[in-house]
């Protein structure tokens, strides 16, 4: 009995110190009061009242959900296709590994750099616009390429597609190839095999990838800030603004609401797909 407790102690300590502890502190601070220059320990609901009482909160959440949904859709479509190609079209294992590693190469650079690199490409006088103009396709530069919701989603997709590729690829590699042969023998078309065999068997991978992408996008502030030119807001941006203005309790309340929202989404995903069972 004693050894069992001792065995779980290290994990418990790490989780308690770096995960449960901070969250507890944030939830406590979210009930504190504050003024311009200090936090006042208290138990008030004002932070939550101001949050739920403001129209902006709903606009921001709606905006964040929009970014999340679009990003999820794009990363899923691209991630699934890339994983499918790697798993089923590339025959040799060494090529699979080589191409898979190639996918991860951009991730060796900082994600800020990968994001900012888009700015000179999409700008009014950037590569895309000057290319299109030289080719005579457009007369006026396309303004919506940069500092727009399009730019935000584009950057998100670029940043996070790998998080979809990896778990889906992993799921696909576990699929027993004889199942596909059996489907083929039973007269299923390519689409039917994809839809009725591969997709259902990839569900755990898709769910894991979705959790990554959704949590990353929901909590982001740098990408939204930079790619929208500060013109769009997300939950993270609003929270960061409050933090910068020393309004820690208000930011903490924001964080708690976001945490609960994301947990609900993850719980719904877990209900739809039993990751544990199918891993």
């Amino acid at each position: 009995m004693m050894t069992r407790y001792l065995q779980i102690t290290p994990l418990l300590l790490v989780l308690g110190l770096f995960f449960i502890g901070p969250i507890l502190i944030i939830s406590i601070v979210s009930f504190w009061d504050y003024n311009e220059f200090s936090l006042i320990p208290d138990f008030v609901w004002t932070n939550y009242q101001e949050l739920f009482g403001s129209q902006v909160t709903y606009t921001i959440y709606l905006n964040t959900f929009k970014f999340t949904l679009l990003t999820w859709l794009c990363t899923f479509l691209i991630g699934f296709s890339v994983a499918y190609f790697l798993a089923f079209h590339v025959r040799s294992l060494s090529w699979q590994m080589a191409l898979f590693l190639l996918c991860t190469v951009p991730f060796l650079t900082s994600n800020i750099i990968r994001m900012i690199a888009w700015i000179p490409v999409l700008g009014r006088h950037g590569l895309v616009n000057s290319g299109l103009q030289t080719a005579g396709i457009i007369d006026q530069p396309l303004d919506w390429l940069l500092y727009s919701d399009f730019a935000v989603v584009l950057a998100f997709v670029h940043l996070y597609t790998l998080f979809m590729v990896v778990p889906i690829f992993n799921s696909m590699m576990r699929i027993d190839r004889s199942l596909i042969e059996a489907a083929y023998d039973a007269g299923a078309s390519g689409w039917q095999t994809l839809w009725q065999i591969i997709l259902p068997l990839c569900k755990p991978g898709i769910a894991i990838g979705s959790i990554f992408v959704i949590t990353l996008v929901m909590g982001d502030f740098v990408t939204v800030q930079t790619m929208s030119g500060g013109q769009s807001a997300s939950v993270g941006v609003a929270m960061n603004n409050k933090r910068a203005l020393l309004q820690y309790p208000a930011a903490a309340a924001d964080a708690m609401v976001l945490l609960v929202t994301v947990l609900i989404i993850v719980a719904l995903l877990m209900r739809a797909v039993n990751i544990r069972k199918e891993l």
Binding site: S38, L39, V56, T59, I119, R124, H125, Y147, V237, N241
Partner: protein, 436 residues
Amino acid sequence: MSKQDKSIHSPEPSPANHSRRKFLKTGGAIAAGVAAASGGFPMIWAQNIKNVTLRQFGTGVSNINAIAEQVKKDLGFTLEMTALDTDTTAQRVVTQPRSFDIADIEYFTVKKVWGSGNLQPFDVSKLKYYDKIVGIFKDGKLTPTSKIAQGTAPHTVGFVDSPTSKTFAKGETNWYTLVPTIYNADTLGIRPDLIKRPIESWTELLNSEFKGKASILNISSIGIMDAAMVCEAMGAITYGDKGNMTKKEIDQTMKIFTEAKKDGQFRAFWKSFDESVNLMSSGEVVIQSMWSPAVTKVKSMGIPCVYQPLKEGYRSWGGGLGLSRNLSGLELEAAYEYINWYLSGWVGGLLMRQGYYSAAPETSKLFMSDDEWGFWFEGKPAQNDIIDPFGNKLESAGAVRDGGSFYDRMGAVACWNSVMDENRYMVRKWNEFIAA
């Protein structure tokens, strides 16, 4: 506001810096904490002042390593510099009082941070160059006839009645909250090559001619002022005091700007110096709120950019050095020595040659060539190329500073950066505008 006993500091621990110096200081810190300020404790006077290390943080503009190097050369002790942004600086002063000895902060944030009690005022009688400091930082007047601008004018938060006072004094006293170091007058930056016509008023920021090509800075306390300058110039709103707006005035201002935003007037909002430079140099934006050195940076890239003087006047800002409440004994002496050196001219020259103004311009003159002084301070045409302290060419011979002389520019200040009584409301409204 004696909330000190009730308030607590940030939950994040201050960096554990167990240096020898810190160890020596701990005794003093504890004594000061227990005896609440006036505590005398045995000083290690035998220790040479050269062993002192002062930790300074503040906004990037004046936290230049060249200053630390010169301090080592001229005074012998070590100055550690950390460059932060305006908000973070204020935040650290309030939440991590042990993490600094000297804070380089902006005047409008003094109103926010002084109440924390983490800063101690300067004893004016120990400031060697006090009489050389310009009137803006004393009675508020640049010249005896000047009118005092709206907003948090530095002199209104410049003095306290006693070393422990948490409220500001009405006039000059012996206790100086900050020693002013750097200030400037801000206006709109424009791309004359893309606009191709004279710009004379703040109203141009919302002119539909520049739809999708305008920008404003997204730092609420400063952005709201630029917005107010525009609304007032348009004749849309008459403000009692732009630096201290009523809720109604804030609502009206944000309504005008929100409509403009929805119409697509703005290309982007910027938060950092570099963002503003990129927006301008790439031509994404042709008219925007800007800071003087950002304009200079764009120009030095060979791209035409003008820091356009406007008929309604400038929005001005100033910064100064504040002393940590924890400083005492030898370190406090060193801090005074540093401040006196700061005002003696070398730093002033360094700042003025980048386009800022020194609090004691007279002393800076000794560290500038006649041509540099003529160009930067007197608004005269440059005789030779103007080179900044880091060796970059900023202007060619014959160029004249945008806005002219010191008295032309600082004399036309319409408003100072400020913190309003309705600050919390304003911040909320500003965030709504950004999210709109």
